[in-house]
Symmetry: C2
């Protein structure tokens, strides 16, 4: 069975998945790189092969078993990206996805084939419709929900997320886009575990309780 | 030196320190007792003497070295409490404070002496003024900031909190009073540690970096 999974999504202690104001020069606004420093410290990030502690154990789940990604327009671009016909995302010619990527946007455009197996498809629709398209492209494998916060929130609210790995980073952003908004009662649908890492972050996992 | 300390303050994963709607029958609104079940599981709560794991280690810090408490009117009462001249708090004749307690309120009334060393004083003023009064009454010991969320937030914003122990409970309340609001950048003033407990909660401590 193909699952919908979230991996390595970082929020501040006060629950923001990105800072203010997002721009081309500062995709995370005033958060800068602070939400991801824990990841830069992993052996995985440094390309050091297997091994490592709890941060590595989690970060390495990002790719295996994934056949497609869904991301929001806010992750793909920056405010105004759709006015640039040449914009191909933040990740250079060989993006780290290596699968079809469904970019949810009201500004659709023709698909873009990149190096390394990544193809960006631009899609408008309900979360359920977009998931159906990504799942068909995933060839029986799982679909990763890549963020940002708005996208994850919408899919969780629609009951479409099977697994969610959130990384709580001990910084206080105060403003930006909140992940935890309007999710009252979702703890009834998931087994939730938390584990603090020596790096200072806390990994929180939501695993859907299947019936 | 007398410090200002917060202990055992529980918030949901999405950052709410109490639910909606607060009332006499439901002081925590729709949160019910879910924010405090971790505490009811401790040996300390059950009166079992010393021992226990990480939850016990934290919960036992609540009383030692404390000479006075400050609490908000929302913790002391319920919406409308000030219309009841007989209201003496939620804790019966012998409240678990055993020190002077400064209740911040715009509806001040004469002090009430309870059994066991607790005296409720009703006080209106700035956080700094109220802390000064409590500190004078604490006889050189520390002042505990008892909550709720509004009170803690206001004192943190005013730079008056030296130590803060927050317990993140894996429930999603969705509404209530947020603790994490307008606290951008306070991580620069504190050493922050997180540790997850087998009970499922995560203890987060803020210890002021003294200069
Ligand atoms: N914390 C992390 O680990 C992490 C991970 C990934 C990204 N991020 C950051 O998160 C930020 C982006 O997050 P965000 O919450 O602002 O935005 P987002 O979730 O990436 O994207 C939201 C946007 O996607 C489009 N969209 C959403 N649902 C749609 C639908 N059903 N149909 C068509 N279009 C739809 C809309 O854009 P349009 O109407 O403009 O098309 C909407 O404004 C960026 O700063 C990014 O760097 C953080
Ligand atoms: N999560 C936990 O561990 C925990 C711990 C303790 C309590 N609680 C819960 O938290 C809730 C109360 O929290 P809350 O945030 O709603 O309220 P609160 O912080 O207890 O009290 C806020 C109220 O105190 C008064 N006040 C605040 N600052 C003042 C000042 N400078 N001068 C004079 N009066 C001032 C105002 O009331 P008036 O204007 O009406 O006087 C204000 O509305 C309750 O449900 C309680 O059970 C939770």
């Amino acid at each position: 069975m193909s699952l919908t999974r979230v991996h390595n999504f970082a929020v501040s202690l006060d629950g923001f998945g990105t800072g203010d104001v997002q721009s081309l020069a500062a995709p995370f606004g005033h958060a800068g790189e602070r939400l991801h420093e824990w990841m830069f410290g992993t052996r995985w990030w440094k390309g050091a092969g297997s091994g490592g502690g709890v941060d590595d154990a989690f970060v390495r789940q990002h790719d295996p078993g994934i056949g497609a990604e869904i991301m929001g327009a806010g992750k793909y671009g920056f405010p105004g990206w759709h006015e640039d016909p040449e914009w191909k995302g933040h990740w250079g010619p060989n993006p780290p996805f290596h699968t079809p990527v469904y970019v949810m946007t009201h500004h659709t455009r023709p698909s873009i084939e990149m190096e390394g197996g990544t193809t960006f498809h631009f899609i408008d629709g309900t979360p359920a419709e977009i998931l159906e398209a990504a799942r068909a492209a995933a060839g029986g494998e799982d679909v990763r929900l890549g963020g940002g916060a708005t996208t994850i929130r919408d899919f969780v609210k629609a009951g479409l997320v099977d697994y969610m790995h959130i990384v709580v980073v001990p910084i206080m952003l105060g403003r930006g886009v909140r992940l935890w908004d309007g999710l009252e009662g979702i703890d009834a649908d998931y087994a939730i575990e938390s584990i603090s890492a020596p790096s200072g972050v806390t990994h929180v996992t939501f695993t859907r309780a299947k019936d």
